[in-house]
């Protein structure tokens, strides 16, 4: 446990692409109205989807460094040779990745929501669904980052591998958000499926990423 906490603190301290991810998120949100035109009703309707896709793409941005940085400087070998369970290592690193990358986005969502003419209930639903869904994206991303860790141009491949896996989380994240303020649709069923998808991807992600990392040194 000391190891997991130390690794978490180290990775949070190193920061990753947290701030750049936030700027990237901001650029997606500001560029979009230029593309679709100044129709406020349309923006309000597609706003939640845009913010979700923006969050997904921003989280991809620093993902290839998640394990590659440790792979390149020898830290990954040492973590593998230390005798600790790799699943704990993955858990600590993914948790730190979520805190440095997804959490700033979620904090910024209320602010960006106003850019897209979103009402307060929609913004509240977005924060809730992003809180529930982004950990799932982070664990799914860890699979791709671990599988491509030893590939020299893994970054591009990573996006191709990961985006299809993220589709269910995106679908239920957006539909839960829309259901929260569109009247006849119930909010709870899609939200519960979103939570289930996150738990599912956490369990699968931990074990797949850990065994991919173990295989990377072989």
């Amino acid at each position: 446990m000391t190891m997991a906490w130390a690794l978490f603190k180290r990775d949070v301290g190193l920061g990753g692409a947290g701030f750049v991810g936030l700027i990237f998120f901001l650029s997606i949100v500001t560029i979009l109205p230029f593309g679709v035109g100044p129709d406020l009703n349309l923006l309000a309707r597609i706003g939640p989807a845009i913010l979700w896709i923006g969050a997904l793409l921003s989280m991809l941005l620093g993902l290839d460094r998640l394990f590659r940085a440790d792979y390149e400087d020898g830290s990954l070998d040492l973590l593998l040779a230390s005798g600790h369970a790799m699943e704990i290592v993955v858990l600590a690193k993914v948790a730190a990745y979520w805190v440095t990358t997804a959490l700033p986005l979620i904090v910024a969502v209320p602010f960006f929501g106003f850019f897209l003419n979103l009402e307060p209930p929609a913004i509240g639903a977005l924060v809730a669904t992003l809180l529930a869904g982004t950990p799932g994206l982070a664990f799914a991303g860890a699979i791709g980052a671990a599988v491509t860790v030893s590939l020299p141009r893994g970054g591009m491949l990573l996006a191709v591998v990961i985006l299809p896996i993220c589709v269910p989380i995106l679908i239920f994240g957006v539909s839960a958000t829309l259901a929260a303020y569109t009247d006849p649709d119930p909010f709870l069923p899609p939200f519960a499926i979103l939570l289930a998808l996150t738990l599912f991807s956490a369990v699968i992600g931990l074990f797949v990423a850990a065994s991919a990392l173990r295989a990377s040194s072989r």
Binding site: M3, S75, L78
Partner: protein
Amino acid sequence: MKLTVSDLSCVRGDYRIFDSVGFEVDAGEAVQLTGDNGSGKSSLLRLVCGLLERESGGVSLQGAAPGAEIADLCHYLGHDNGLKAPMTAMENLQFWRAVFGRTGLEALAALRTVGLERIADLPTGYLSAGQKRRVAIARLLVSKRPIWLLDEPTSALDAASENLLGRLVDEHLGAGGLVIAATHMPLPFAIAATIDMSLQRSVPEAAPEPWEYTG
């Protein structure tokens, strides 16, 4: 404590690098692996600490506490130092101390031992190659682990630091530790046995396919 490597082979991809290597290391002994580039010195170290999968043969430990895994008793000093450039030498060592167990020296005391106390608060990105290597050597001191696997331990070190490494290894051996060092350079500490990996090279099973450039 005694480490026995028996009948170990190494296969990388389609190539067998070496076949049935075996030796023993007693407590207080250092074994040197020598050999040409690519003869499998580093691979052997990685096989011992479990970074590479063992195809055949085994590594066993006699006289260790029951239930102790070899991976829990090894310090691996690889080619790469495992240091984060933005973090100071202190922070790096404190991190590895938490990972490998807080059983050895404090981070600052370890840095003092390798003579880097003055630059403890400098980000390791600013250090020279030799200084980084010394920080990595200090990592061996912050956690007590009896088996040291050293891959080219003297690379980038100056003469004084080599002597320092020799003293540290002698102390470790004196305390009942085991050392396996892979290098073709002379080592600054007493060697109980030398294993020439070039002589262990396996006979190719078949001539490899000629590689054609079709680009």
